[in-house]
Amino acid sequence: MGSTITEKILARAAGRAEVHAGDIIEAQVDLALANDITAPLAIAEFEKAGFTKVFDPARIALVPDHFAPNKDIKAAGQSKKMREFARKHEIVNYFEVGRVGIEHVLLPDMGLVAPGDVVVGADSHTCTYGAVAAFSTGMGSTDFAAAMAWGRVWLRVPESIKLVYSGRPQPWVTGKDLILHTIGLIGVDGALYQAMELAGEAIEGLSMDERFTMCNMAIEAGGKNGIVGFDEKTTQYLQSRPEGSRARTAGKVFASDPEAEYARVLEIDASAVPLTVSRPHLPSNAAAAADLADVTIDQVVIGSCTNGRLEDLRQAASILRGKKVHPDVRVIILPGTQEVCLDAIADGTMQALIEAGCAFSTPTCGACLGGHMGVLAEGERAVATTNRNFVGRMGHPGSEVYLASPYVAAASAVAGHIATPEAVGAGKGGSR
């Protein structure tokens, strides 16, 4: 009986020769993370339970990215709790405002995740790191508190579903379109409790940034983790992390066996996937962007843990360069990290976006979850490169969010309604 990559990683972490779907295991944690919303609850539980020390101060990351820079007095209090805990326990990977980024862009970029690692985070989008062939999954605050104390986590080994993407995507079609399309096919609980293994020539052709985007949204199909096999692109990404980092010095490469068992194998023709937009109020409400030209918009958000990497901003800038944001639209850019900002300055991306009329935010989750820095009023409508369009997600429960790629979001910003790059006269191209 063969094993999937997810089973192999979990077997390693559980210290067993093999594990299979349905097994309950205790796995060693390579990295545990939380943010300024989830950490304070975890710290309270940690202290209430009487724990006095963390299992390893170098394997915990505390990231004030949601409501930081502090949006109000209460949020400041939450951040303060986390900061004081980080100091007391000498947490190595605490990132203060000014150095902080959006956790799921920052942590892999800092080289904190290696292939074959087990990463658990008190944030649902922790599934992002499957892009580097690691197992990573989101949990709650109490689970994080337990992981901090114990250095282990209980897990039910998930069944895997294999999504095989054949063909070459059309121009402008990105990993974001592929994942929105996929969630449209299988539904918001289509991968409930399961691993989503992404494979096929179209995935091999994706950049690392796009692979992060796709794994990031596994949770939107109910998945436990998303994962992509290790290849030359993974190596290149890992080797360009900071010298001496875990990404460059640790890890173990696993691959699914040909005879591994899958709960389901789904073949998707990537060449037939259109520029895709998910309409309110579920990520599974996928539609072709070209069919939504009558949807006028008030705001565009480009960035977040889903699409806040350099390539995403470059794609947006390639549409907006030399154009102006529509007078009735405001565009907010949520870059993933300070490093992304610096790179976007160096290559002219930031200048093009600012000249087009976009506002640059500090790296924060803020607008994505209706926290701050871009909250929607009643009746307002946004196109966002973020990950969720639930009722009230970006503000008033009477507002609406349409999820899209950076190309479509930028084109929509110019048009004032949902638009494709072609519709705003963008030249030939796209990422392929």
Binding site: G140, W150, V375, F390
Partner: protein, 168 residues
């Protein structure tokens, strides 16, 4: 444990953003969170809910964000138990970890109507709809989950594991 209460009924894919909107996540205080429970799906919920009441929903209850504030808000609003056709993965863990009783029972979830009286017997694994005069068998928890519940949640379990580790 046996709970009896009035049903508040919801559909499928009730996400944690509507259970407790992010605008209220600048606090960890259970009572404050509870005062906004279900705010964006049912604005009148906190006024209507009585101690012991029961939330009933279709598939994928608690999808979306990992915020543990969601089960905390529900629990401290007075709700005794949530009955659903299925739960999203993280919410399921969080409910057990925070001591919010949950029951998977697709048939009971489908047939219960808002305002029905329900009686949930966790030990017997049954959901009784007193209004409709029907009894349903709930799905049993896997043995490991039941052990966690019996030990009073995850942290007591972890404490026991750590104590054992330091002895050996």
């Amino acid at each position: 444990m046996i709970f009896e209460g009035t049903v508040h009924k919801y559909g499928r894919d009730v996400d944690t953003d509507v259970i407790i909107p992010a605008r209220h996540l600048n606090t960890s205080d259970p009572q404050e969170l509870a005062s906004h429970a279900m705010e964006d799906i049912d604005a009148g919920f906190v006024e209507r809910v009585q101690p012991g009441d029961i939330i009933v929903a279709h598939e994928n209850f608690g999808c979306g964000s990992s915020r543990e504030h969601a089960p905390v808000a529900i629990k401290h609003s007075g709700v005794s138990v949530v009955v659903a056709a299925s739960f999203a993965r993280i919410f399921y863990r969080n409910a057990i970890n925070t001591g919010l009783p949950i029951v998977v029972c697709p048939e009971a979830a489908r047939e219960a109507q808002a305002g029905d009286r329900l009686r949930v017997d966790l030990a017997a694994g049954t959901v009784e709809n007193l209004t409709q005069g029907k009894t349903y068998d709930a799905e049993a928890f896997p043995p490991f989950m039941q052990e966690l519940i019996d030990r009073g949640g995850l942290l007591p379990y972890v404490k026991a594991q750590l104590a054992e580790g330091s002895r050996s």
